[in-house]
Subunit: 434 residues, 2 copies
C-alpha cells in the first residue's frame, strides 16, 4: 500500500480511522449489491431515470462543486489539458444526465439465458447471466466517470465503489449525491454507488488490495501511470488496457484509395484516443505504389512521420524511426511507418511490438484478411475499417466502462454484458446420480 506523507498528528489520526472506514464502506457495498443484484429490470431502469432527474436538479450544486475543484486545480498549476478534462459546463451536466438515461434504455443484461442443454437423464441445465459483484473504479480528473461508471455497473446489478482523483473530488461528491438520491427515489440502497469520502491517497492502496474481499474487480480510468500502478499492484482482477499501440497493415492487395481514407481516419480523426493508429506497416509488395501517397497524405494532414530507411526516401520531412518508436503510443499527430515483408512480416511486427489492443489490415485479398484476423492476438482485429471504431458505443454496446486487453473475463470494450458473471440453473424431476 502506498502511504501518502503524514505531516501532522491530525493526519495521522485520520489514517488510523481510514482502514475501518473503507472496510465498512466495502461491507455496505456488498450488502447493497445483494439488493440491486436481485432488483428487476424495471426497478433498475426507474433508478437510472431518477438519477438523471436528480443530476439535472442538482446542476447548480454540481457546477459550484466543480468551480471549487477548478480553483484548487488552477492554484496547483495544473495544465490546460487537465483543467479541460476537469471542467463541467451546463451542457456537460446535461450530457452526464442524458448518458445515464441512455444506459437506462439498454436491455437488462442480468438473467439472460446464455446456454441451455438438456441431458439424457432429463436434467435441463441453463447458464444464466448474474451480476459480477462489487466493482471498484479509480479515476482521475473527469468527474463524469462518477455517473457513467456508477450507472453502467448498476444496470448489470453491480455495486460500485468509486475513488475520485483529488482534483475532481468535490465535483464527484456532488454527482454521487445525485446518484444516491436517484437510488433512494427508486427504493434501492444508495450504498450501491459509493464514493470514497476522503482525498487520502492511502485509500487507493487499500482498494488495490480489494478492501478485505469486498471488491471483486478494479477498473482504472485515467492516464498510463494510474493504469500501470493498478495493473502492477492490484491483488484482485483488473479490467484495463495500459496502452493502444494500434497498427494498420496495408497489404499488397490493398486498394490505395481505401487505404488512404482508412489510414487518415485511423490516425487523425482524433489522435488522443486509445483506438488511434500509431504504426503504419506497408507490405513491401506494394511499397512502390502505396508508401509515398500514404506518407504524403499524412504529412499534408499535419502528422509527423517517423520512418524506416525506405520511408525516409519518400519525403525530407520524414525523420528516422528508432526501435522505441515501434513501442510508442504517441496519442498525438505522430505516426511510425515501416515497410514489412508481407503478411508474415506484419504479424511478426505486431506480435513483437504491439499491445494486443486493436490492429487492422487493409486488403482486397480475403485469405490474407482471414489469416490476419485469426493470427493477430489482439482484443479487436479489423479488416478494411478504421481503427477508431474500437469503442463500445461503435460496437453497439450502448456504453463501455473501458477497453480491456487482458484475456480474463472481459476483452475489448467492456459493456454491461461484460460486467456480468453467470451461474448454472439445473431443473430436475427427482433425478439422482448413478
Amino acid at each position: 500500500m502506498t502511504l501518502a506523507l503524514v505531516t501532522d498528528e491530525a493526519a495521522k489520526a485520520d489514517r488510523i480511522e481510514l482502514m475501518p472506514m473503507l472496510v465498512e464502506l466495502g461491507r455496505r457495498a456488498r450488502a447493497a449489491q445483494r439488493v440491486v443484484g436481485l432488483a428487476n429490470a424495471e426497478q433498475k431502469t426507474a433508478a437510472l431515470r431518477a438519477m438523471a432527474r436528480a443530476i439535472r436538479a442538482a446542476k447548480a450544486d454540481i457546477l459550484l462543486a466543480n468551480a471549487t475543484d477548478l480553483v484548487a486545480a488552477n492554484n496547483r498549476g495544473q495544465t490546460a489539458a487537465f483543467i479541460d478534462r476537469l471542467t463541467l459546463t451546463e451542457a456537460g451536466v446535461e450530457s452526464i444526465a442524458s448518458a445515464v438515461e441512455d444506459i437506462a434504455t439498454l436491455p437488462d443484461p442480468v438473467g439472460r439465458v446464455l446456454a441451455t442443454f438438456t441431458r439424457p437423464n432429463g436434467l435441463v441445465i441453463e447458464r444464466v447471466a448474474t451480476p459480477l459483484g462489487v466493482i471498484g473504479v479509480i479515476f482521475e480528473s473527469r468527474p463524469n466517470v462518477t455517473a457513467d461508471a456508477g450507472a453502467l455497473c448498476l444496470k448489470a446489478g453491480n455495486a460500485t465503489i468509486l475513488r475520485a482523483g483529488s482534483d475532481s473530488f468535490e465535483s464527484a461528491m456532488a454527482i454521487r449525491a445525485a446518484m444516491a438520491a436517484g437510488l433512494r427515489a427508486a427504493g434501492l440502497p444508495e450504498d450501491a454507488i459509493q464514493l470514497v469520502p476522503t482525498r487520502d491517497r492511502a485509500a487507493v492502496g487499500a482498494m488495490l488490495m480489494g478492501l478485505e474481499g469486498t471488491i471483486d474487480v478494479l477498473v482504472p480510468r485515467g492516464g498510463k501511470s494510474l493504469v500501470a500502478r493498478v495493473q502492477n499492484e492490484a491483488r484482485i482482477p483488473v479490467f484495463a488496457h495500459l496502452e493502444g499501440i494500434v497498427h494498420i497493415f496495408v497489404d499488397r492487395a490493398a486498394d490505395l484509395e481505401m487505404a488512404k481514407t482508412i489510414v487518415l481516419n485511423s490516425k487523425m480523426r482524433r489522435t488522443g484516443i486509445c483506438g488511434a493508429a500509431e504504426t503504419l506497416l506497408i507490405d513491401k509488395g506494394c511499397a512502390a505504389t502505396h508508401l509515398a501517397p500514404l506518407v504524403k497524405l499524412l504529412l499534408e494532414a499535419g502528422c509527423a512521420v517517423r520512418g524506416d530507411t525506405q520511408t525516409l526516401d519518400v519525403d525530407p520531412l520524414v525523420v528516422p524511426a528508432t526501435d522505441a518508436d515501434w513501442r510508442t503510443e504517441y496519442l498525438d499527430a505522430i505516426v511510425a511507418v515501416r515497410v514489412v515483408d508481407g503478411l508474415d512480416g506484419a504479424i511478426e511486427h505486431i506480435e513483437t511490438y504491439g499491445s494486443h489492443h486493436t490492429d487492422c489490415i487493409i486488403t482486397g485479398d480475403k485469405a490474407a484478411a482471414e489469416r490476419f484476423l485469426n493470427e493477430v492476438d489482439s482484443a479487436i482485429v479489423l479488416h478494411n475499417a478504421s481503427t477508431q471504431f474500437a469503442d463500445g458505443g461503435e460496437f453497439g454496446f450502448g456504453a463501455e466502462i473501458g477497453i480491456a486487453t487482458g484475456r480474463m473475463h472481459a476483452r475489448g470494450p467492456v459493456g454491461i454484458e461484460q460486467l456480468t458473471a453467470f451461474k448454472y440453473r439445473v431443473r430436475g424431476s427427482g433425478q439422482v446420480r448413478a
Copy 2:
C-alpha cells in the same frame, strides 16, 4: 515465496538456478502456446490421439516410475488414503489414456463464433473464442492430473505448466514424457505441456507470482490447504473452489419420497466429492412430516447426524450441532440438519454459511423453486435433483479441470469452453468513423 529449507551447499546452488530455469520454462510455454493456439482442430485431435498411444506404449515406464514414488511415499509414512490416490495400476494407465482419447473427441472450442452483430454502417462484428493462454496447474498426489489437465488445456489451444506434488513427481514425469512424445508426433511443440522438473518447493511460490507474466491463470488440484494457499497467495487469477458446503433445502411443498431419494443420493452416494451434500435444511412448514423420515433414513444409511434442537428430538443418535457445523464441509458420512423458517430462512442460512458452490431445493412449488434458483448466489443451483450432479461430466462438458466458485471468467465446472477467452473480429468495406 515459500522457501524450502536449504540444508547443504549443493541445494543452495540449485536454488540460485531455480528462478532463471522457471522463467525460461514459462517463456517456452508462451512461445509454444502461440503455436498450439493457432493449430487447427485436426492437429490438436491428432496430437491427443498420439498422446494416448504414447501413454499406452509407455505403460511399463509409467508403472515403474509410480513404483518408485510409492516406495518413497511408504517410507515417508503417508496414509493409506494418500497411497491409494498415488497408486497407478495397468487399468489406471489405460484409463488415463482413454480419458485423453475422450478429450480428443470433444468439439474444438477455439474459433466458435459467440456473437455476431451487424452495425448500421455495415460493419460485421464477431465475438470469437480464442485460447486463454498459459495455464499453471499445481497438484498433489494424483498423477493422472498430468494427462487430464494437459490434454484439456491443449484442446482449448492453451499451454500448460504442471507442478506435481513431491510424492507423485516420478509418475508425473513419466506421463508427461508420453504427452511430449504425442505432441512431437503430431508436429506440435512439446513445450505446450511442461512439468516443472524439480521437487523444490520454491517452484510453487514462483508459480503463484505468475513466473514473470508467463502464466495467465492457476488451477490448484488437491486438498483444502493447497487451494487455500493458492487462493491467498496467488498474484494472478485462480480457478478453484475452497470447499463445497452444499445445502439441500426441503421445502414445505416437497414430495417426501422424492426428498428421501435425492437427500440420500446427495449425501451418501459418494461422501468425499465436492458436490456431496453437507447440510440439510427442512422447512418448518413440513418438519412434522418430513424431518423424522429423512433423519432416520440417513441414520440407517450409516450417516452421523448433527442437528438443531428440533432434530435432536427425532432420534437419540442425533448429536447437537454447533455453529461450526453449519460452516463445515465434512467430506464424510456426517450431515448437519436444521429446521428453517421457510424459503426465506433457507436462503438466509445458505447465504450466511454457504460456500457458493452447489445448493438444491426440493419442492413441488414452482414459484418457490424459481425464487431459490434466482436468489441463491451459488455457481450451481438445482431444483429436484441430486447435488452430486455438480460435475463437468454430468453437465455434458466431456471433462472438467475443476469447479470454480469465483465470479471472474469461469464459474461452476471448468470445461474446455471456460478455458477459452475471446476477441472481436470486425469486417468492413472501407468504413471510417465520423
